[in-house]
Symmetry: C2
Subunit: 155 residues, 2 copies
DNA sequence: AGTGAAATTTATCTAAC
DNA sequence: GTTAGATAAATTTCACT
């Protein structure tokens, strides 16, 4: 899908806040509210906008600990990779999983209640996924940007 | 803020999709639409919900390359850390920055048009941030979960 | 095509209970 | 917490450039 500058303005706005009214978007885009709505609908249908979500504060729901876990698998075979991806999808503690190049195969963003909870998670996760060769943990002290906001420029 | 099971149901729902109508939320929560609205408002005011955003598909806006960059700083001094955090905030290519324990000090989620664009980014970013000692790059082949959805259980 | 304005449908907010 | 009425917003229709 081809995007013009108005689309990009809309995207920039809603990836910061998707609860803006059409009137507010109209002001930002320099267009009528109706036109903005139509464009937003198109952007959603064309999956330029993948989804619309509320960001929940981890602390508020008792998940004060975020860890980044680099996972290496025993073998880099597609069936093993796919099996591990499926494991990520069904594990609620894992917020995001990145399949990457480099010394590790995956980097997981994991949330836990506390260290003990994380410890338990790793034990269980390791036990359930025998393809894992090893892992390395980074404890998140602070998260600087919360979101998936992309820089949206002319393409 | 204390959350009951109804709050948690609402949070589970809206962190997947925050465009559900109050009637839909009412059905999920087993409550009237008005009551759901009031609860949602409280959750937003209490910052249990940090924000509401549209997730834009990186590909669709010409940012097909995601990289994870582990950054080590020259010294671990609070003023240097804070300066680096400010740099992250004002750098649009960086989606998220994690300040972490471990061999690296930060892990950055960076989006680029392509490898050449990423290369240019690192050059510029290094040049502008002389506190950086070194960095290590992982190229993201695939992202398994897109979002910040947390497992929300009884606390 | 893409836009804008008015009418309709739908959702949200306010007030009373 | 609920229900009912007022307000506001999103959709649809249609005429315009």
């Amino acid at each position: 899908m081809q995007l013009d500058e108005i689309d990009r303005r809309l995207l920039r706005a809603v990836q910061q806040n998707n609860r803006l009214t059409s009137d507010q978007l109209a002001e930002i885009a320099g267009l009528s509210a109706t036109a903005c709505q139509r464009r937003m609908k198109r952007l959603r249908e064309a999956k330029v906008i993948e989804g619309d979500v509320a960001i929940v504060a981890p602390r508020a729901v008792g998940r004060g600990l975020t860890t980044l876990v680099q996972v290496s698998l025993e073998r880099e075979r597609t069936d093993i990779i796919d099996r591990f991806k499926a494991a990520i999808r069904k594990t609620p503690e894992i917020m995001t999983g990145y399949y990457v190049t480099g010394d590790a195969d995956f980097l997981l963003v994991v949330t836990s209640r506390d260290m003990e909870d994380f410890e338990q998670f790793t034990r269980r996760f390791f036990y359930e996924n025998r393809d894992i060769k090893g892992f390395k943990t980074m404890v998140v002290i602070d998260r600087v940007k919360a979101g998936f906001a992309l820089p949206i420029e002319a393409i």
